[in-house]
């Protein structure tokens, strides 16, 4: 996903200082040559101990069985188990379905909200921006519990309102597709504000004159939106979408707490499946193998997303 050296957003035009720094650098003493390594050291140390090593170790776990602190090699047995487990495919289906619905909905909402918050001379913008962002602050456990209570069939406030309006309460957590909907609603509530702020910052980097020129040329608001705003936000949109897709593919806490995997595994996500295999059945080999299958899926999707949007750019 190396898109070339990223261009900084703020700060305006400035010298490409890498050249001059390099020159300055070469004149320095040995002490100075070690400086970057010193700056980097704490992070790299933690990275190797707590990230690189576990990743390598988990790769090894994929190919065998780990029981009572001893490891036996079994080849690709774990992978074939996962890839022939109907439950895994169910989890895959659930995760993808929810992702495919949630991400566009959330992105569209965030885009709309960001555009509205960008309107000039809107009083109270700052406060509204802060309020819209707030859902991110409520921790995952709390809001899962709250939403679980909202959508309770017998007593939840959602059904109570529906009944008040004359309808019948819906079996939110008992029907597969309704349970998925509850999760999508909850996740959208939580993350739209975050994405809104990200998009807002992108919006503020689109020069005003573009809009002015366009309206002088007679372009209406909607036309301006699609001709100026969306292309101008391209990088931001891609970033937000990639983040959201990744987040949805790795979904765990909300289904774990809200639906427990849903009625008959209807909201079981991939990571939930892995958690079950790893920390309920203690089959670390299968759980690791499954994790890497997930990694491949994420990598493939991300690569696809970037490729597709790069082609759009043309030349």
């Amino acid at each position: 996903m190396w898109m070339g050296p990223p261009q900084p957003v703020c700060g305006g035009p400035f010298l490409d200082d890498r050249q001059s720094l390099t020159e300055v650098f070469m004149r320095r003493s040995i002490y100075h040559r070690s400086v970057p390594y010193l700056f980097l050291l704490p992070f790299i140390a933690f990275f190797f101990v707590f990230m690189a090593y576990p990743i390598v170790f988990s790769l090894m776990l994929c190919f065998g069985k780990y029981k009572s602190a001893s490891f036996t090699f079994t080849g690709i047995g774990n992978f074939s188990f996962v890839l022939s487990d109907p439950l895994f495919f169910k989890a895959l289906f659930n995760t993808f379905l929810m992702m495919v619905i949630q991400v566009p909905v959330q992105t569209a909402l965030a885009l709309i909200l960001a555009s509205l918050l960008n309107v000039k001379k809107l009083k109270g913008k700052g406060i509204m921006r802060m309020v819209v962002f707030m859902p991110v602050l409520l921790d995952a456990v709390s809001y899962s519990i709250v939403f679980g209570m909202f959508f309770n069939y017998e007593n939840g406030i959602v059904n109570n309102v529906i009944r008040l309006l004359g309808g019948d309460g819906l079996q939110w957590l008992n029907l597969g597709w309704l349970a998925k909907t509850v999760l999508i609603i909850a996740i959208t509530w939580r993350w739209t504000g975050y994405n809104t702020v990200i998009m807002l910052s992108g919006l503020q980097n689109i020069p005003e004159d573009l809009y002015e020129a366009a309206s002088i040329d007679g372009a209406g608001r909607i036309r301006q939106f699609f001709a100026i705003t969306v292309p101008g936000l391209k990088q931001v949109l891609i970033f937000a979408v990639i983040l959201s897709v990744n987040g949805m593919l790795q979904l765990f806490t909300e289904p774990y707490l809200l639906t427990g995997g849903g009625p008959v595994n209807e909201t079981l996500t991939i990571v939930q499946y892995l958690y079950k295999k790893g920390f309920k059945s203690f089959d670390f080999g299968v759980a690791s193998a499954g994790s890497y299958i997930l990694v491949l899926i994420i990598a493939a999707l991300t690569f696809l997303q970037i490729k597709v949007t790069k082609e759009d750019k043309g030349r």
């Binding site: 898109m3 990223p6 900084p8 957003v9 703020c10 010298l15 200082d17 890498r18 720094l21 390099t22 300055v24 400086v35 970057p36 700056f39 980097l40 704490p42 992070f43 790299i44 990275f47 101990v49 707590f50 090593y53 576990p54 990743i55 170790f57 988990s58 509205l116 918050l117 309107v119 809107l122 509204m128 309020v131 602050l137 409520l138 921790d139 995952a140 456990v141 709390s142 519990i145 709250v146 939403f147 209570m149 406030i157 109570n160 509530w189 702020v197 990200i198 910052s201 990088q235 931001v236 970033f239 790795q250 765990f252 806490t253 990571v271 958690y275 994790s291 890497y292 997930l294 994420i298």
Partner: protein, 273 residues
């Protein structure tokens, strides 16, 4: 025309704000209700009378003071550590050329795409080997390997004008001094950004503390809340909501304190790659 458009904008924004706020308000009021009231529409946004007894129930089941301390300690130490470690690392990647830079950077980039779940089991085995299971450090230390912060800080540092550094260097200042005295003070928005995101993330961290913490006193607030609604536990929803509100307080305070800087910080970095 403009006022009509603005009115439209206001309308949608106000509705969104109401939707965003509703669960917060509901929870706050729910903390004062009994188990029956909590579900009734007429009590939805009205204060009840049971706040004190709900709080009492809450503290009776869990050593709440200890749990808040756990969450605060873990989140604060983690945030401070991340700010230090990631700003140094981001600075190195942004402002220096050195052997292995490309390789290390590519490594970090690749690791960013490995979901955390992949490392959970090996981490767990590692922590057991280090005899660190059930300690605060088992939660804090692995978090320092997170790459997001490094990227964010690197992004921001790249925007810092190199000439300032060069002139300081010509004046004879050492690199660490340049870093601490000149560069960092201008990075407040980025630091606020990273700080808030890290704090909020670590505060709400559920899966890993669930796995590694075993003593009741060490549980973080999310763990406490999740335990209170488990089967086998007599659930007083009012007290769960009271707990949720208590858990929200530090995060809210932190956020309100730094939010102005935070938005500026998001502007300068989180946006691109």
């Amino acid at each position: 025309m403009k006022t009509k458009r603005n009115g439209f904008a206001y309308g949608i924004l106000l509705v969104s704000c109401a939707v965003a706020l509703f669960p917060f308000l509901w929870s706050a009021f729910a903390a004062t209700h009994t188990n029956t009231q909590i579900y009734q529409i007429q009590w939805a946004l009205r204060p009840g009378t049971r706040l004190l007894s709900n709080l009492k129930d809450l503290t009776a089941s869990f050593p709440l003071g200890r749990n808040m301390f756990s969450s605060l300690f873990i989140a604060l130490v983690y945030t401070l550590g991340i700010l230090l470690i990631d700003s140094m690392a981001g600075f190195a990647f942004a402002k220096y050329e050195f052997k292995g830079k490309g390789f290390l950077f590519a490594l970090c980039l690749m690791a960013m795409f490995i979901p955390t779940q992949v490392t959970l089991i090996p981490l767990f085995i590692e922590m057991t080997a280090f005899h660190m299971i059930d300690t605060y450090w088992s939660v804090i230390l692995p978090g320092f390997a997170s790459i997001f912060g490094v990227f964010l800080m690197r992004q921001n540092f790249m925007a810092f004008p190199g000439e300032l550094m060069e002139s300081a260097r010509i004046d004879g200042a050492g690199d660490f001094r340049i870093f601490a005295r000149i560069v960092i003070p201008t990075m407040k928005p980025a630091l606020a950004s990273l700080g808030i995101l890290s704090f909020v993330n670590q505060w709400g961290n559920f899966m890993w503390p669930l796995i590694t913490l075993n003593t009741k006193e060490k549980y973080t607030m999310p763990l406490v809340l999740s335990l209170m609604v488990q089967p086998g536990y007599v659930t007083n929803y009012g007290s769960v909501m009271a707990g949720a509100m208590l858990a929200l307080l530090p995060v809210l305070v932190f956020f309100l304190l730094f939010q102005k800087n935070f938005i500026d910080g998001m502007l300068c970095g989180a946006v691109k790659g």
